[in-house]
Symmetry: C3
Subunit: 346 residues, 3 copies
């Protein structure tokens, strides 16, 4: 078991201890579950009551947090420190490298050093699997695809032929990369398939959550930019470009050929129509749908998505609509009365 | 072939026959497909015409249903009786128990009596598979996971390490349990992964529909309460607690750390933001999104979700918005006229 | 490498060349990526700038398109011609037919001529696999199911027992056909499963995108009509009937027992409640939800979905709500003043 004093942790990760510096920490736990040997995490004021009642040995907080009577590890950026602490206390346990006898790997596959391939995985002809990459049980990597060094395909991932996955990516179970885009030529009511001959290119350090799908381009590539993180059940259509360092939360969907700039965020269940440009650093609120181009730094909400503040105002007024309608009727009555009075005067 | 008279069925399941008690019933079918040997089911008045035209030998209805000329099996709760009838006429055909030679089960797995494990399934080290459990073809159960007695993982289910599944659960194909939560520490625009070290705990008698995903907790557990039923393509994020006996319909999504009480219903494509508390017995209407805590017994709709009746009223008035705007202009004109008239009088 | 002059292509597919008829074409590429040997595609005016700057050898356009200085292949229906061109330049490379030694095919399965079954696929008892059908690696076909001639199940597809798939279908990876519908009898707050004993029937020439799910009927069938195309992550609930030649875009969802007519379109993230009838040729806009029956030829949008033009008008006015509310207050003030003046006169 790993054990560190709070002071050691503070020195390691650049923070200050408020309280007993010698307290011994053996793990990280939630405010509710933490005991005297655990460090807990508190940054969201919704959980103030839980923080006050926590039995954690110490609580990781940002500067300026008041929790009288508690021992605190105060850092500049608690989320980053939490990531570092978890890496310290929960190092990833790698399976022994090697190709399972039960995997079917085509003879001409180029396999790097220290690669792990699980049972019942299939790697077709012409693939390249980079150093230290891991392909989980039952995963499928189609003809001529590439998996970069250190990337991980969890069990059951399906990679269609010709897909390129960069380095240090993490692709969760059930993800389908490179399925056909939804492209048909409709004539006399019949839908004829337009062959989808582009690729999917996933750049380095991308994470894709369980059961998400990224379709191959119709002609060109569908591209996920470096360092972008995609949650579960997200749909990326053909020809989409996701810039670097984007965040797409659960069940978001991006329609065909839309381009997201750098550092764009889509919250849960949000969507974008096709052929749009979403500017750098834009944020699309949960459950919203973008139907027009939006400039850099936008924060939009609603269906169709509009400026977030406008949307908020409009939502507030919407609740008053029945009241407004009644008021409108009342005013119309009063005006009729005023008109009548005037006419009588004449 | 099984065959029962209506009277026998009435006695078995506690109902009354209206019409020929000796009619022989050999199966259950839809109103449209049913023939003279079939029992059909009618509770939704939308299908009255189909019930009237049905050639079913008898129709299962609740008390008070009028269907002149039809033979009826009248019960208190037709849905429950339908479930019982289907269990009677369509008993589950279990495959022969046993571990397929083509499954890869780690040596130290604790396998109960009467367990079935399909071809190309993988069960990693330290797992426990309870009595009578079934693990379908190509399913994956990661290190140290537990599958309770009588639970079924359909083909292709993926269970990440450390997951706990209770008794008598039914997990449909494509479900991913225990994938990483969507947690990143963002600094200077770069997203650093926060290791997700919690678990997924699925309590007894839970059903999870095809391709749904339940992420593991960041620190603590993600928990699905006993008897809860989850439909297809539903997303349960990290740290969520679903209470007992909840119903989450297709494509619903619950964001991180949100807690659903007992008996909560989310209709199709509904969502909840993170860190919320959804009170016992609450209902969230289809396509709605909850952005704030809601008390026990709420019935909410809209985005953001508000009281269902208020939402309905507001929807009705929304349709009249263009008309209201025109009226507003008309009134403004009249007032200008009235003011003008008054000023002329002065 | 295939190579054709523009004139040859024009004669093959029925078009006219504007410019150099002898230009040699060796492939199809996007406006941005195309070089002098490539044909590019231009129909969406958003990409006019890209078309003007394209280095493509020729551009495929519809009649009436103006692109001064560019060599054009002018056709009546560029999407259909694109499909034909891609079939010409990118013919599907079929794997060698045959059943992998690593597949597990039940002895009594009826396998047609030229069938391909990949490694780790499982085909259970009583199935029929039609001539030229292909079952990908790790796919599962449950007891008594049928896969029609020429149909393709990509790797990892799961077909529950008793499912019928027609001819020339393309079922993408991660699709689950025949999972249980979401049907429970709730009594005293407990949800009892209603056995789902119907089937899924997929008619000919249907395409279903990655990770979509189609549930089996409760009593009767869930049916996908001939020539319908379904995108990724779409949810089709139990007892739904999708008519022929429908298009359901990504993340759309159709609730139980709803019937779509012929040629219905659901755009991305749209939904329909249960037990509805959606008329032939109707279109449901992205992110919308249909809560009532809609007649043939409808074009609806919003939640709840209403006539598309009405929705557009209402959206425009919604943005003016805060302004309308202010105006309402202003008018009320003015009326009070008018009333006061009148009262003073009296």
């Amino acid at each position: 078991m790993k054990r560190f004093s709070l002071l050691q942790l503070a020195e390691k990760f650049g923070g200050e201890v408020a309280g007993d510096r010698d307290r011994q920490i053996e793990g990280v736990a939630t405010l509710e579950a933490a005991g005297p040997g655990d460090l807990a995490f508190f940054t969201n004021s919704r959980y103030l009551e839980k923080a006050r009642n926590s039995e954690a040995g110490a609580i990781l907080v940002r500067e300026g947090t008041e929790l009288p009577g508690k021992t605190l590890l105060v850092v500049e950026d608690p989320s980053t420190t939490l990531a570092e602490l978890l890496e310290l206390f929960h190092p990833v346990e790698l399976p022994e490298a090697g190709v399972s006898d039960d995997a079917r790997v085509s003879d001409d596959v180029d396999i790097g050093a220290g690669v792990t391939i699980g049972p019942f995985a299939v790697i077709e002809a012409g693939c390249r699997i980079g150093d230290g990459a891991r392909v989980g049980a039952g995963a499928f990597v189609g003809n001529g695809s590439q998996v970069g060094a250190g990337s991980v395909l969890m069990p059951g991932v399906v990679v269609y032929p010709g897909t390129v996955i960069g380095k240090a990516c993490l692709i969760h179970s059930g993800v389908i990369l490179g399925g056909d885009g939804f492209g048909f030529a409709t004539r006399s009511g019949l839908h004829r398939k337009i062959p989808q001959v582009g690729r999917v290119v996933v750049e380095d350090q991308v994470e894709i959550g369980a059961n998400s799908t990224v379709d191959r381009g119709a002609l060109g590539d569908t591209r996920i930019g470096a360092g972008s993180k995609i949650d579960n059940l997200v749909m990326i259509a053909h020809g989409v470009t996701i810039g670097p360092s984007c965040l797409l939360a659960g069940q978001a969907g991006i329609a065909g050929s839309t381009r997201l700039g750098k550092g764009v965020t889509f919250a849960g269940q949000a969507g974008a129509a096709g052929h749009l440009t979403i500017g750098d650093g834009s944020v699309v609120a949960a459950k919203s749908a973008v139907f027009t181009d939006i400039p850099d730094g936008s924060f939009v909400a609603g269906v169709p998505a509009a400026d977030h503040r406008e949307w908020k105002k409009s939502v507030v007024v919407q609740k008053r609509l029945p009241e407004m309608r009644a008021e409108l009727k009342r005013l119309a009555r009063k005006i009729r009365q005023l008109e009548q009075d005037r006419n009588q005067e004449d």
